[in-house]
Symmetry: D4
Subunit: 238 residues, 8 copies
């Protein structure tokens, strides 16, 4: 006598909220952690059928599953990013606005790559500025002139998480800070960077969960795709 | 023999960064906590002289000092908000864009008021939607139709901090969540609300420090004043 | 010379409190974590002999041990739930009252399944309402009319753990909240959800340990099996 | 120029959700912490007018405000409890079911008194068993025979919070545990008791926030007032 | 060119403090965690040569290394305890005094076994009372008459760690409490039990680190081997 | 209508467990924190009547209440300690055994004084060794020869709490460590000292709650008054 | 009968370790927190007598006690710093080496002042660079050319504590970072800054306790007064 | 269509800041954790080409990769330390000054070895004093006469981390404390040792992150290589 009552529809193992697009303007995303390749493929195919004109995103895929998932999908429509361990399937919307993705160190590359693909999936342009951690200040200063050219900035750092404070003092562009779990000992899995960013002395820095490149990108893409390009051209002064 | 070496300029007790306006487009703000009425007055007057065409803001003023500070300033140019314990002095910039400030309970009023005055100081319009905590869901649902009309939302809640997740499921407008220290026991001074917001299941929710209505407003005003009004009219769908 | 003094009875490796049934009305449960398949089988058989008229429950069984354990037991009397990794052996008592088990996301399925089997083992009926997380509010609202039909509700959520607060605003049915370890980063293994539920703004929400579907079900079944069915029919108003 | 926009209705300083009674069957409660006597009086009078046939409750009143508040209300309808610093105004519903309130030490008296008045306000009977902490086990054992006579138990303890585990081993009556902030040093304001209760080895113990006698009572009264008296008479065995 | 400067004596990989016996009266103990079987054997042999008349103890040995280590040592002098993953080699001193080792649940068996062998190594008698957790109070009450017969008690419990408080109310015998890492979720690796024991309402309960059966046993054996047997016979009253 | 149901016996405000002396051999102690002078006096008088031949102890008395309390009690039988803010009333039992109380710094004096009076009340001798913190190692080394002369040692330290580890390396006498809240910043109210002592590299160090001089003394006095004086004379070696 | 046994020498209320100067080369310092003006005066006079040729330092004096303490001491030899709430009495040693004290904001002035006076007391020169927080990066960049001129740097910051990382990228001079308790909410009393500094991505940053300007200065002065001036002149390159 | 945009130079997987040497005088170090053997080899070769006259350091190499890495490098110029899991490649600068590396226990050997190789790479001499933990005080006392002969001390300890406090009381040489993750239970991965060292009662102790032998060595080498040898010869007294 089996009592397992999970008599759910075909995709019973996952919540597929196909109503989210009209409600919020954002595509549904498959959070791949803990899901098998088969499950991810099935959900992506379901989402593709529900919204054929809009790409679906899958993040945090097990590295070993990337090939199988991409092979099962329409290759022409499939953008994969192996550093991010993420895949985007279907027609990407016309990009509006510009999001700058700034990362402190090479260890933050995974989070930055996830943010980049998510920005694209959410309808904005993404450009990366890498390896500009505060211990070599000349690097971020060399990029300073570019900071005002974006509609929103995503600033990613682990360890002490100081980069958003420094960037925040150099520009009036809205900033989303992403703490990463890069570090050891008293970093406590990214807690040090998280607390640092929440206490930033630069006004207006907002923060997302540790390693949450996806969440930062959703916010940044929303901001960028609604921005008036003239506000960027005029500088940030009122 | 006194060895106190603090031979600093007149406002030596406070850091007055009059260069911040051209660099970031934002006015300088006096963080009043721990400062005397005399110090706050002196800094505000200094900022008024440096930037006569742009209002200066002072927040977290001791309640008992509000009258003295406002009396010392030019009454015609002085906007005070006693709930926020904040004051705005000088000509406010022409407002662009719209920021919605949504608060869960009456105890969050202080933070909401600080956010409102800060949005105004940073050049955007602020409208409040009060007392729509999730324990009485009909209240936020009654305001649902208004959520898409804003360029950015500030969502304020203490205790479990669930309101941003609910609002995030109802609209694609960018959301800044502010946890407040309202609560007791296992709220640990707002930590419960902070962690809740950082782990929001609604994508794209970004977070600021506990009770930091000011920081949320700086970010939201930057977003709103750069928004293209048409993006608001078209709904959030791409 | 071996000095191991564990001269205990046959089941020395486990505490078998066969006196618990008359004392509390509840069956003994084998907490399977850290036990071998052989140990679990032996305890279950011992409990079956001690109380032939009442089913015994084993939870948190290693996935790979499920087949071996069920094969060793009387198949006709054995209810297994592979999602819960739990098994119920023996005659189930006649169910009294109704427990609703509400879960926020698919990742909470393990906890919900453990709760369901435990409710059955403790003499009440269990019905599940799945995937009604607060980021898509229409889902829980669609189920609102059912909430008053239960004698007790178990509400399960990870991440920010907001669902019990929302449900608590929609019904007067007693609610037991279960935080799950679903999440990452600042969820700190379920701590964020736990704190959120303990600080719920909906009055009367009670909480159990992280992932403790079993404990919530014991409480809920006790409440439901003692409920007067008329109180359910009359609605919650006094 | 004053910019304070709080042009709210008369009770703008407080959220008065007069719709809660039909929705959940529970009366509205005024959480008095941080409110003036005048505010509490005004809200209570408003609630009395909205629901003349149902008593309203105010908790966590400043000790010095108790006299003023009670003097302003109709004395015949006003039940005050000075230990709880709470007041109940208006006709109390006919009590159904029985809630037992068990406290470990005299320092827990405030929480126990708040729980008692809240149970009454929510339509059940409340009886207290005081000073039965586990360091003198004979005391709770002397009360053991009474434990099965209740429909729900509220068990209150500070310090290590062990009492619910002991009570949970003696009866099958549903138990709500309340940790209190009684203690010092490594009690961390009640955290030790909270964690202890969440990890109780007695199955089915559910927990509320530190010092939250009110929340425990709302849950317990809901359970007790819906209980079938016969389940109590038959003992807990199925 | 190798620069590794660890030119230490033969046992350079381990600190062998052969002076500890005369200084404190206690034997040296090898903390086996992180050491290879070969290293443990070598240290034990070294200690045996230094103090041929006194047994040496090795704890926290990898389970798979137990056979190899015992095979390498003089079988007649070797006491092994596989539950404790510990071994005692050499002549055990004549035992003085009596230590009672009380454990709450079967999962605490490892810690209790480590405590037992350590007590023996440190010159006292050890007797165990198992599986007397507070959720089934009749079990510890059944053993109550024995509590006064010991010179020191070691009380071991995980989860909420309530057992020492209950035992502390039943006897005046000195009590050392050992929290264990048994539990999950909000037990935080034994933190809940540790905090509970530190806040015990029973006076005089002292505590050691999580899972530290060794440390508790060293203290208890010191107390017991110096006790006057008459104090035990006279009961605890002064 | 007053509903306050606290119809308790005369001393209803406090738990007076006069049965504790025969059960554990220890006197009842009044924990004075949060109690009025009148309440403390009444309890002490009650305890004096219940056990005229045994002194009662009151600790953590408000400094300003010391005079009033001592004036109300029989002066000849009243030992007061103003540093400890504690008082002992009635005939002290004949002291057996010796407890050494070692404190690191002058700021630990309050805890040391509480421990001293408690040891006396519990029937042992107390001697203090003050101001021997590890930053001036010559001080504790100068007292080293005395360490073996005690039956139990109480070692008190704040800040990093290193003193018990050092003392534990110098003697085999049983040691109870007391962390104090002396410190600031990352001492987190004594947490640093508490964790340090729990992780002591000296075997056999047992620990009590922060600032809990009372608890350490109860344990130490129990150990000392049961010790065989010959074990002290023979040194610690087996 | 008074039992207070504190029969200590004249300065029994404080530990006066007059041996510290020859042992470590550092003067004794009176930690004034929790001491009365009379006690501080007495200790300082005692230290002056013991070491007439070396100044003694007192820190963390209550603001209201500064006048009384300085009046009681030899005015010609007394250096007071009211911002630091500290006083230095007696002949200051000839300064060797140079310590730079860099602070992020005006709120850090107290800690910076304590560090400055402590450096002087410990025999080195102190120069301050104020208000160079990272949110206005031009300020620290303007001081960059001076950083190599010091033998040791003390870098002080609250909130996110990012300044040491930035300074650490600009110079090879040894850096001691001091986190301050400046901040609110998720700064948790300076914890955020402390963790940030411990996780600094700039190599070689060492850290002291929150607000511990004194400790940083002792270390920095030791480094500076032993430095070879030529190493400063040659730059930091090897 | 692959969208991976990481079009970086050859060493795109790692940040190679070849400008650091002239800016700070320190060599670049490869933090090997999470890098493949191939990546580490490539970076080291790149650094060797950029600075042929200065050795490059790689730390935290996977144990299994040590042989492959050393085989790929010029054997004559390659110093490997297998305990540290680190390698130094290229000509080491002429050592100036002396750094003493003191470790408490054998488990701290990894951190001590990393510190030793880092000191050499940064241009100073390193000498180790091993296994002098405070539980056997005679060991550090035997080395006391050597403490003043160093220009800087690195003191390494896990568990309670008391050794820096003891060393700090014996010498005036600057001390850098390194907490290690050695311990279990309430050591919380080195947190106990970290907090202990931050709260050291010995003045002037500075601290680095848990297990951060590298960071301590960078600071210590900077201090030592700039020290005037005469300051060492004269003792520490001013």
């Amino acid at each position: 006598m089996a009592t397992n009552d999970r008599e759910e529809p075909n995709l019973g193992f996952a919540q597929v909220d196909v109503d989210r697009l009209p409600r919020t303007g954002d595509p549904e995303t498959v959070y791949g952690a803990g899901k098998t390749a088969e499950q991810i493929i099935e959900i992506l195919q379901h989402l593709r059928r529900a919204h054929p004109h809009r790409a679906a995103l899958a993040t945090r895929i097990a590295v070993n599953d990337m090939d199988q998932i991409c092979a099962a999908l329409d290759a022409e429509q499939c953008s994969r990013d192996d550093v991010a361990a993420a895949v985007l399937v279907g027609p990407v919307p016309t990009a509006r606005g510009r999001v700058g993705i700034i990362s402190a160190g090479t260890s933050d590359a995974t989070v930055a790559a996830e943010a980049r693909l998510t920005v694209i999936a959410h309808g904005s342009n993404a450009e990366r500025i890498n390896d500009v951690g505060v211990a070599g200040l000349h690097r971020i200063l060399a990029a300073q002139h570019r900071l005002d050219e974006f509609d929103c900035l995503i600033v990613i750092a682990g360890m002490e998480g100081a980069l958003p404070s420094v960037v925040g003092g150099l520009t009036g562009t809205p900033i989303v800070a992403v703490p990463t779990s890069v570090g050891y000992g008293a970093s406590f899995g990214g807690l040090a960077a998280l607390l640092g960013m929440l206490n930033s002395c630069a006004p207006g820095v907002v923060v997302v969960n540790i390693d949450n490149g996806y969440g930062a990108a959703v916010h940044a893409a929303r901001v960028a795709r609604s921005s008036d390009p003239r506000s960027r051209d005029q500088g940030r002064a009122l």
